[in-house]
């Protein structure tokens, strides 16, 4: 069943610099029990997409399109219904656990808060017990419920966020850069935990990261975003190992495979600056930094189409690159 579906989603911020199209026509689907990875560099609209799901965007954001959660359009929902859907239908693990937790409340209380809010008739004591159980689920001793966030390490805090996200048994969990700020070893712990939960509980997971290699480990499928649009989508491993969009390729190259002589002493990178969302170039937004651009790229915006040469099994490989669509290699 389709758990979450974005249909031609556009998000535009109105700021001091004018109108910023942060998300430009995204169509994505997440099935129950499956994991979707969203990759892309800073500012490409990943968080905006995530926040749009629960309508947490600031007032300055104008959202068009549809976001269907279990078939219900979140964007047209009444506030009462929306509040009910929040955290029960979908929950979010935010990037900066330090800031996403209230520094002056004990973590037990924070984990219990949504339970008390959404479950009628539950007593505070029961909620507290549930919170402790949840903390144990994510590998924290239940005594930690009495700690304040600052008494925990970054990894532990991130686990608290995960416990909190699980509190109301949501169908969908969105993890926005859940591991970015973490140390390698802690990141590994958290990733292990998340993938364990997905297989165990069959929830849908949207995992956002700029690290393609991480996504390739955890996700079934990966969508790579650039300047507010999805530029490539496909099975996680393949996108990482065999990119069909020059941007995905560059992103993948930023995380070399150790032991692979091809990447030894050959740091992969992308020249030029990230795009300014206010002044996107005509045609393909990636063209100014693209090594394989052809003339057509400056004129037409490439659509997200299936690309040839992909393996037959699994979801279709799609890419928004004229070159790739013609079956040419996109890596220089």
């Amino acid at each position: 069943m389709t758990l979450l579906e974005f249909k031609d989603l556009h998000v535009t911020y109105t700021g001091s610099r004018g109108r910023i199209p942060a998300v430009r026509g995204v169509d994505l689907k997440v099935e129950s029990g499956r994991t979707l990875g969203i990759a892309g560099e800073s500012g490409c609209g990943k968080s905006t997409l995530a926040m749009a799901v629960l309508r947490l965007l600031p007032k300055s954001a104008e959202v068009t399109g549809e976001i269907l959660l279990n078939g219900e359009d979140l964007l047209t929902m009444g506030w009462g219904r929306l509040r009910a859907v929040r955290w029960t239908g979908a929950s979010i693990v935010f990037q900066g656990a330090m800031h996403s937790l209230n520094a002056v409340h004990r973590i037990g209380r924070q984990v219990a808060e949504p339970i008390l809010l959404h479950e009628e008739g539950i007593s505070p004591n029961e909620a507290a017990e549930r919170a402790e159980a949840l903390l144990e689920r994510v590998g924290l001793p239940s005594s930690r419920a009495r700690s304040y966030p600052h008494e925990l390490s970054g990894g532990q805090r991130q686990r608290v966020m995960i416990a909190m996200a699980l509190a109301c048994d949501p169908d969908l969990i969105i993890a926005d850069e859940a591991t970015t700020a973490l140390d390698v070893m802690v990141q590994a712990q958290v990733l292990q935990l998340i993938s364990g939960l997905v297989t165990e509980r069959g929830v849908g997971l949207v995992m956002i990261s700029h690290d393609l290699s991480v996504l390739s480990e955890v996700c079934d499928e990966v969508a790579v975003m650039y300047a507010g649009s999805v530029v490539e989508q496909g099975p996680a491993h393949e996108v990482f190992a065999n990119a069909r969009h020059p941007y995905s390729a560059a992103l993948g190259a930023a995380f070399p495979v150790i032991g692979d002589p091809a990447s030894r002493k050959r740091p992969g990178g992308l020249a030029g600056d990230p795009p300014d969302p206010v002044r996107l170039p005509d045609g393909c937004a990636f063209r100014p930094r693209c090594a394989v651009a052809v003339e057509r790229c400056g004129e037409e915006v490439p659509a997200l189409l299936a690309v040839p040469g992909a393996a037959g099994e699994g979801p279709a490989r799609v890419s928004a690159c004229f070159v790739a669509q013609e079956g040419e290699p996109v890596v220089v």
């Binding site: 712990q189 390739s216 150790i258 692979d260």
Partner: protein
């Protein structure tokens, strides 16, 4: 602009053979011997942030220093530059021990330069690119042909044409450009060693490569030596000649990148390598990801004996039973860089090696 950027992308490929420029040990190399740095903490405790480190960086080689957060990498870098006083051991440059007088430090810092993690922070927002790059010249009283030197440094750092950047303020540049400015600021004094503390950690994934390529090129073309501090082993793989793995203030494994990363011998290194996502080449060496239990180690509570023992997966799995008494009581000697190319500070490893030498070919790794 795109043309110059592309050229930087192409160049490394021409000299991609491993360690093409041979490091020039000796005259201009930076050496640390038994370096120790302690911090007094409230409550009378002492954090041994750097606890006995021997390290050499020579012009023409890139040494990577990797390790978990809080293991003392930054402290080591700061101490090498004389920004932090060591509480034991020596830092020497070209054989001369570092003296801490203002004058001596100033002279020393012409030779050894620092590049920080966060380029946005490392540039004073009120100074133009020109000022930022010229600052070193002004501090050292080099007045002749300032604009020329600045322009030269900028173009060597890949910002071409340099004059176009003179008037820019940091906030008008992209992250990668800012880091280039910082590097240019270091290059303008024509140092022989560059110490880079997490030089790309704050940069966008796709931009990182550019900076790394620049470092590599500076090494190749100008014989610059660099100590690159990182927690990302992939980065080491991308540019470094040698790598040192640090754990709790001490280097636990050190050697050429290919050897250390593809055939790690210290349990800690093995764990680090094992959790790297998507590294098929390693799957044979370390088949299952080893996720270490326990939290970050605390520099103020360094356990006796082998400092990695409490988290050691070998100990936990009981595979180290034979040497456990040594792990518990015997401190490991400091790894000196000169003795062998690949060094490991582990009792178990040592025992196995000895076994291997004694009892034939029973190599575990």
């Amino acid at each position: 602009m795109s043309s110059e950027a592309r050229s930087s992308n192409e160049e490394p490929s021409s000299g991609s053979a491993p360690s093409s420029a041979a490091p020039v040990r000796g005259e201009k190399s930076l050496t640390a011997r038994d370096l120790r740095v302690e911090f007094g903490l409230p409550g009378g405790r002492v954090a041994r942030a750097v606890d006995g480190v021997d390290l050499d960086v020579a012009p023409g080689e890139i040494v990577a220093l990797a390790g978990e957060s809080g293991c003392g990498k930054t402290t080591l870098a700061r101490t090498l530059l004389g920004l932090e006083r060591s509480t034991g051991g020596t830092v020497a440059f070209g054989g001369e021990p570092l003296r801490y007088s203002t004058k001596a430090l100033k002279a020393y810092r012409r030779q050894v330069q620092l590049v920080l993690q966060d380029p946005s922070g490392a540039l004073n927002p009120r100074h133009t690119v020109y000022d930022a790059v010229a600052e070193g010249l002004r501090i050292h009283g080099i007045t002749d042909d300032e604009p020329g030197r600045v322009a030269d440094a900028l173009s060597r750092a890949g910002l071409r044409p340099p004059e176009q950047f003179f008037l820019a303020y940091p906030h008008e540049l992209s992250g990668g450009q800012r880091q280039r400015v910082v590097i240019a600021g270091a290059l303008v004094l024509r140092p022989s060693i560059l110490i880079a503390d997490e030089p790309v950690a704050s940069l966008d994934a796709s931009v990182r490569g550019e900076i790394l390529a620049l470092l590599l090129r500076l090494k190749e073309e100008q014989g610059l030596g660099a100590l690159v501090i990182t927690h990302d082993l992939g980065l080491a793989w991308s540019i470094a000649d040698r790598i040192a793995i640090m754990y709790l203030g001490r280097i636990v494994e050190q050697g050429p990148v290919e050897q250390v990363l593809t055939a790690p011998r210290h349990p800690y290194t093995r764990a680090l390598v094992s959790v790297l996502p998507g590294a098929p080449a390693l799957k044979e060496a370390v088949p299952e990801p080893i996720v270490l239990a326990g939290e970050l180690p605390d520099a103020s509570r360094i356990p006796g004996g082998c400092r990695f023992r409490p988290r050691c997966q070998e100990v936990a799995a009981g595979r180290a039973a034979e040497v456990l008494h040594r792990c518990e009581s015997e401190d490991l000697e400091i790894l000196g860089p000169e003795s062998a190319p690949h060094l490991v500070a582990c009792h178990l490893d040592r025992a196995r090696r000895e076994d291997a030498r004694d009892g034939g070919a029973r190599m575990a790794v």
